[in-house]
């Protein structure tokens, strides 16, 4: 029995659609009335675990799920020992540094040393500023990161940007780009090395959709 960890939220619908094309119908998880967190596929050969975004690589790394779908941003932040299998090309966004529109900073390198930077993605942000050789004080927030510069708590934020609307509506402007992110199919490395063909079939089926551009 294959177990797949799927992230609740924005990636769920597309994730379900990719697995449906590979022969595993998890559409039950999309039912508004569904409250189950472990949902069997219609064929009964696999289970889907409905978990939070950040928990997908955890379930896969610990081997409780052989496969999972999660954004590259989450993988980059958590750096769990998982195998990167297929770039699913949906859930596009990018990680960016943003400041108040009225500020004079034009790029991350312009920020003053030891300034405060607020983020949900403190590991990604820390690595970025270390590469810039700019010492900053990281402030970890769990949401509404845009408030950091608005309240004066932080000079800048590092956050995911999809359309840029939230930044604009909160008077913030993007000044640097960390990386581009899309949804990824990931796998447990040990399960992949012990696989007798079942996991490989799913990975190949999902990958072949990518080649055909059938999504």
């Amino acid at each position: 029995m294959i177990t797949v960890a799927l992230a609740k939220g924005a990636l769920l619908k597309d994730s379900v659609s990719r697995f449906a094309k590979a022969g595993f119908d998890f559409s039950a998880v999309l039912e508004p009335s569904n409250r189950q967190l472990m949902v069997p596929s219609a064929c009964g050969r696999a289970n889907a675990l409905l978990v939070r975004n950040g928990d997908v690589p955890v379930y896969v790394a610990y081997g409780q799920a052989q496969l999972g779908v999660v954004g590259f941003d989450v993988l980059s932040e958590h750096q769990m020992p998982v195998a990167n299998l297929v770039d699913l090309c949906f859930g596009e966004c990018h990680m960016a540094v943003a400041v108040k529109k009225t500020s004079s900073y034009k790029s991350a390198a312009d920020l003053p040393a030891h300034c405060r930077v607020a983020s949900k993605f403190t590991n990604c942000a820390r690595r970025f500023f270390e590469e810039l050789d700019l010492p900053v004080e990281m402030v970890h927030l769990t949401g509404s990161v845009e408030l950091g510069p608005l309240t004066g708590m932080a000079e800048a934020i590092v956050d995911l940007v999809a359309t840029g609307r939230t930044l604009r509506e909160n008077g913030l402007i993007e000044i640097d780009h960390l990386f581009h992110s899309t949804a990824r199919l990931i796998g447990n490395p040990l399960a992949l090395r012990l696989d007798t063909g079942d996991i490989r079939l799913i990975v190949d089926a999902i990958k072949s959709q990518e080649r055909k551009g059938s999504f």
């Binding site: 195998a83 990167n84 299998l85 297929v86 590991n123 796998g187 012990l194």
Partner: protein, 391 residues
């Protein structure tokens, strides 16, 4: 405020200690039968020893703040290899040594918190003899030890084997810069990284096929021969698998050759392996090992090339798949000696001494029991099966 134990460390209760000791004793029984002698390497070592010449990352070691750079051992091989290359340097080879004890690692949890990871390990090191025989003995001993542990049948153990030279052969044609990148991609099973590699498309397809190449040793060796030609590594692997195949069949252990598997620690310079069992929910690695000639030479101060190989069982992981001990074993006959108002504790101690002489477990009820019935009620509370009430 309650003082809590450090997160990740093991604070075991009596039953857990008993389970650990049971498994350790089963393993040591086999090691002794094979002529291995017990050593007890230090838990605290110099950082240079612990990092094993760069094979183990410094950030995985728990450091101790003293005048010298010291740390807690993350494994026991480096300490034993050092002893073999220094104070045991003049001892007759092969040296057959075994050790058990706790190891400590610094580990980052998924929420970013750094914790101390304490684990109980038991393993052997075989140092000295040239040739493939060292690996044959080691794998035989590993399989025999596993059998002795009496693990659940449905755990379907798999011995996943590779050789550090296989990845070298696969990467031979590439330049040094891209070689390191490809090695990381193959050992991390990174298909996306492989797709993005800036190399010839045929090479990419070839590497993808190599990444998916694993399974029956004879088939994998034949495929590798077809791609890279015959060589000494493939010949010796072929020999090794022919020797261990019969015993693995007897004990129902699936053997799988996986050319792109490389262990987490960069200590090894030859055969590398991990023993994997199924817990029903997920696969777990219950033992790891390999050949580490360079490590022994790192600590040696003579010109004679040294050879070493070993493996280590994780007791905590084995507990997940070991058959539960029979309760009759765990709670062997235990006698409670209680005394009434007309006797003293000295009388009870005298009874206890006699039972101990007969190798029986006997404990004394420290409070006076006025009647035999009162004493009998205490039996389940004290975990005893028999009662002696004196008055």
């Amino acid at each position: 405020m309650t003082i809590k134990n450090v997160s990740g460390t093991k604070d075991l209760n009596p039953q857990q200690v008993e389970e650990n000791n049971y498994l350790l004793s089963k393993l040591s029984e086999v090691y002794r039968q094979w002529g291995y002698q017990e050593v007890s390497p230090p838990k605290v070592e110099n950082i240079n020893t612990l990092t094993a010449g760069g094979g183990i990352k410094s950030n995985e070691i728990i450091k101790i703040v003293v005048d010298e750079p010291l740390g807690l051992r993350p494994e026991m091989t480096a300490s034993i290899a050092r002893a073999a290359a220094t104070r045991f340097a003049l001892k007759e080879r092969p040296l057959r040594l075994w050790a058990c004890g706790t190891i400590f690692k610094s580990r980052e949890e998924s929420d970013g918190k750094i914790i101390v990871d304490e684990n109980l390990h038991s393993g052997v090191e075989l140092i000295g003899e040239e040739g493939m025989e060292i690996e044959v003995e080691l794998l035989y001993l590993l399989i025999e030890s596993l059998k002795k542990l009496n693990i659940q049948k449905e755990s379907n153990p798999t011995l996943l084997i590779s050789h550090t030279s296989l990845i070298r052969i696969i990467l031979e044609k590439y330049n040094q810069v891209i070689k390191t990148k490809i090695k990381t991609i193959l050992t991390n099973y990174d298909l996306i990284g492989l797709d993005k590699l800036d190399i010839d498309n045929d090479d990419k397809q070839g590497l993808k096929a190599t990444l998916e190449l694993r399974g029956s040793p004879s088939t994998v060796i034949e495929t590798l021969r077809g791609i890279y030609g015959d060589n000494n590594v493939l010949k010796s692997l072929d020999n090794l698998f022919n020797i261990i195949k019969p015993i693995s069949k007897v004990y129902n252990i699936n053997i799988q050759l996986d050319p792109t598997y490389q262990p987490h620690y960069n200590l090894y310079t030859g055969i590398v392996f991990q023993l994997i069992a199924n817990t029903g929910k997920s696969p777990v690695v219950i033992a790891r090992g390999g050949r580490y000639d360079d490590l022994v030479n790192l600590f040696g101060n003579n010109n004679k090339a040294a050879i070493g190989a070993g493996f280590s069982f994780s007791i905590d992981k084995i507990k997940k798949i070991a058959r539960k001990k029979n309760n009759n074993d765990t709670f062997a006959k235990k006698t409670l000696i209680a005394y009434g108002p007309n006797k003293k504790i000295e009388d009870a101690l005298e009874h206890q001494r006699r039972l101990h002489k007969e190798n029986q477990i006997a404990l004394i009820e420290l409070n006076i029991c006025r009647t035999k019935e009162m004493a009998a009620k205490l039996l389940p509370k004290r975990g005893c099966t028999n009662l002696i009430w004196i008055n």
